[in-house]
Symmetry: C5
Subunit: 306 residues, 5 copies
């Protein structure tokens, strides 16, 4: 089945109030690859997974590694939790924009009823000179009710302070597992739409995986679609509407695949990528090298004005 691209992607920036617009402008044009793209560096694995993600590149355990990388390799922004924002960001203030991630959790308990509670506030972000706020929404979790109430507070504070809102929109939880799990086109597509409807300015999505066994469990018409991964990600970007989309990298994958999916997301109308382990699980010079290639892929594949 062909899913026709029906949307002329509408621009986000003209709809935004001045505070959001000024701050997003920094990320889209003044820092990073520019030309309206986003190359974001996430450093929240220490809380989400623990220090185990740092073993492949021991240097990455020291937050200085990522902060320096973000500044020197020319990122649009880096995203971290409050502790690092307070203790490491001061030395890099002005050199690279900060996205304060305001919620988070360890992966020790099961994620059957996942909820990521807020350990910081939008006011913290304003105080620290951040240019955006990050929030993880677990779409479809049995505790979605609490999640949406919590997000409301963050969204309203973002409106109040003119702070752009980046939503890590992750399908999750036991109910979703019975409908094909968190990686299906159905799940990512729903997550994209949810984030937009809840007020995200930027949506972080995972790459949908086409897996017939899992897709069979999804609701109609997803259970009968015959789409490529490329078509799927394009549909997800459309579902996010005016919200900008950045693609998540997840655990480390092959370089060619990484660059390929970078092009996919841009050609689908996305705005960029947010790759963490795929970058900083490399030694310094290798990290700089892959960043250069990612930049090239981003800039060479832009199809949309933010």
């Amino acid at each position: 089945m062909e899913i026709s691209t029906i949307t002329e992607q509408s621009s986000l920036l003209p709809t935004l109030p001045p505070g959001k617009r000024a701050r997003l402008h920094r990320l889209l044009y003044e820092f990073g690859p520019g030309q309206g793209t986003l190359m974001l560096l996430p450093i929240d694995q220490g809380i989400e997974h623990g220090p185990r993600d740092f073993f492949p590149n021991p240097a990455s355990k020291d937050p200085e590694y990522q902060f320096k990388l973000a500044a020197e390799a020319g990122y649009s922004a880096l995203a971290c939790q409050i502790g690092m924002a307070e203790k490491y960001y001061p030395d890099y203030a002005g050199a690279v924009p900060l996205i304060l991630k305001v919620n988070g959790k360890t992966d020790i308990p099961s994620s059957d009823d996942a909820l990521s509670t807020c350990n910081a506030t939008v006011e913290d972000a304003v105080r620290l000179g951040a240019d955006a706020v990050g929030y993880t929404l677990y779409v479809g979790s049995p505790r979605q009710g609490e999640d949406l109430v919590q997000l409301r507070q963050v969204r309203q504070d973002c409106d109040r302070y003119g702070m752009p809102l980046v939503v890590w929109s992750y399908p999750r939880g036991s109910a979703l597992d019975a409908k094909g799990g968190q990686t299906t086109f159905y799940a990512i597509d729903y997550a994209a739409r949810m984030a937009m409807e809840m007020g995200a300015d930027i949506v972080k999505l995972n790459m949908p995986k086409i897996d017939p066994e899992k897709d069979k469990l999804t609701p109609a018409p997803y259970n009968e679609l015959d789409v490529s991964q490329e078509e799927a990600i394009r549909a997800c970007v459309e579902s996010a509407g005016r919200s900008l989309v950045v693609l998540s990298g997840g655990s480390r994958i092959d370089d060619l695949k990484l660059l390929e999916q970078t092009r996919f997301i841009m050609e689908a109308g996305g705005s960029g990528v947010i790759y963490g382990r795929n970058v900083w699980q490399r030694e310094w010079s290798e990290a700089l090298e892959i960043v250069a290639q990612i930049k090239e892929s981003l800039l060479g594949s832009v199809v949309r004005k933010p």
Copy 2:
């Protein structure tokens, strides 16, 4: 058994404070079919069901489709969540009234203990120039206690700002399933009364389904009634008292049936309809056509002054 129509439906408008009255006047007389009727366009399926509802008409995936339809086909108002209200409504402000839906949820977890939490506030609605606020109440859910507390806040804020309150009054939850489920006359009738008693200015009801097997499970005297669907909907409208009633369409149905039930609700003393998928799951010109027919049915069947 005949259920006699006992109520001379009393008017709502004279009981309302000036803010509510001014705003409702826009919906009832200045926009839409007018003459005191309501033709509302809901665009909350993206959060309630996910993007799957947009597949029958791919164009409908872009919120612009529904916003444009609401404005050009002449709706009384459109109803959507905060994200779309912030990013799409600005271009249509003044062209069609906005009902900000302040709660919502995905349909991924079971609705055994349904609760739809608030992702926006009445203050958001005021800020965005909305003319009403929408709230989904799950009547009879095991979590009804939380629901009613949450609704209290919304209702009080509506009183404070003179904002009309539209209650999506849906019977729901495991306890109700044991009493015939959410579609019986008993369930819809209870939902109508609850909404009125909780302070709704407008109540959105689903069409009751007459099903002897399910009706047997309902409490007396509902388990022994012999009523037609037409009689049932009339009784439900009466149960809503002074609150205005709009009928929900649900998933797409046959055109004749749609128009027939539109007449039913009007002849029963209702004020209009709120049809979503039945309208925008059609290509543009077909959508305009059915809207014209709905309008005609509405205006031709008015029996009550709002």
Copy 3:
């Protein structure tokens, strides 16, 4: 066993601050039968049971019926939820005092862990010109902790605004079922005391039922008492101390029994009755007739000054 009447019932009014005193004076002397009695009309069955209670007298489905009855038959006050108070009371303001019932629930879920949450506030009552506030307390429910916290807020607001507090004191919940259930002398007696200790000005009690099978399950010494229903209700009134007691009617019963228990409650030192279905499940003229008889019973059996 004889339970001696040990209390000279102390007066309530002299202990009250001026706001409560002024408002209660209206109910006790200026409206209704007067002479310090209370004849209250409850209209909360629509939320507590649904519209099914209106079938025996279809006219009663329209709230106008009860509002008009309360005003024309000369009630001390009527009690209803916020929705009806806002949409129907305005026409009767000044004609009959209003008790705003601030909590309520449907009877669809089980009452094993009953809790009736607040859908309105004392400030709503002040705004609407009410002369008292009503609150349902489920004595002994597993969720009693939440109930008492909620009641604290209502009680404190009543203290703040000089608003009399009427407590519907109902024994309820799974733990009580194992101790004889909600209708025993033990249960009603406990409920009477609880309401008084929690700050009720007026307590609404159900008539205790003497049932040896159930009484055996109650704690000592209740499991060994040999008392009449008349003695039991007298003891319950004593347990309420200075708080005034009104007797609830429940579902419709025989007229003679209704009048007899009206005398019982007054002779026991109670202040009146709160009968709903027993009155408005009758056609208009019959309703007026039974009201006249109830008044007569009340005034003829007064034994206490409020």
Copy 4:
């Protein structure tokens, strides 16, 4: 095993801010037996157990009985809930100090996860002219987390208003049952320390019971101690540190035992007793008589300055 008395009990009063000191001075020196002792009259059985406690002496059902007793027999203070404080205390204001008990619950549900929620506030106590506030802490309950948060608010309000804090420190809950239950030396000792560490000025303790079967289940070294009840209570008083200790009476016991344990607590460094049923479950003159004997025991056994 001998548990040596290691503490020179330090004085409490010099550590207190002026408001607490002034109010406690009334209880310790101006009312009651004086000389730094405490003889408190609790009247919270009506909520904690229901009216059943009043049957042995029907006169006690009328709160006047206890209020009059507290004033005429010369108590240091009486402790009751908000309802009685509002409706009965006014007549005795100035005649006997008031301890407003701010939390409470019925004993109808199981106490496996006991929590006593607040039905009144410290501000209520200030408004009513109380000289202290009472709070029941269920030490070791599975809901201890909520309990401690709730107590924090009460303690902070006491600090803010200079209001002495009396903690009814009761070991309770299913987890404790597996460790010997609520009456062991282990449990009472823990409760004494908890109350002190949480900020109690006065701790109400139950008398520990020495029961080898239960003590075996307690943690080391309690499971191997060989102590007398007298030694146990002395150790508990020490565990309360600078906080004053009053001993609870519980259900009615033999007079000699009552007076003996009164001496025990005083010789152990306690400050007095809080006996309810052991006093007011007696006819008036008998009650006065036992009070006189208790006073004598208190004053004859003082070993500590408050």
Copy 5:
């Protein structure tokens, strides 16, 4: 496997605002061993374990014992709950700095879903002249969501008042038990990172235990590491980044081992120790003696500037 020390430990003090810096300066240089080290005395066992910890040295049951010890043996600070801070600290104000521990719980219920709720606030700490605030975080507990929200409030108040934040970072709960339990390198390492990311200025860690059976249950790569305890603690200190690390003692252990692990933590870049029972479960002169040895070990092994 060798885990290379990759971090030049960055200094904490230069990143801190003036209030935190002034207060920490007192602990690091003006009191205790000085030279940027921390020797802290915890006195929270009375609430965490009950009085049983005081039996080995009965004198320790009187809080005066530890307060005097902290002042006379020259500690950097002592840490206790609100009750002792209010009733015992006044006599030692100025003589030894206070860390107010703001949360705590008994160990009576299971710690499967551990959460330590706040019984005091940062404002209490400010009022009492404390130089830091202590908070127990149960890393990985099923209730981590509540924990992190609670910690947010404490952290924000610390930011507001310039109060240093000490996090007792303890892996805990049923989910962790399935991954090797609370003493593994994996668990302690995660806890160290979590505390830093959540904004701790000082992290209290337990000594990791190398146990192949348990390590096998931990996630990769921890399940395959072959590290010594010394290497493990060094890695944990690195995971805490700029946050200072103090090592916890736990129950009493052998003196040589105690001093050895004191050197371990300092050589690993830690800042000191927080030993309670290992010190005050000794008679006065013995306690002074071990303190002297601990000081010597601390000062002789410093490798990092705070």
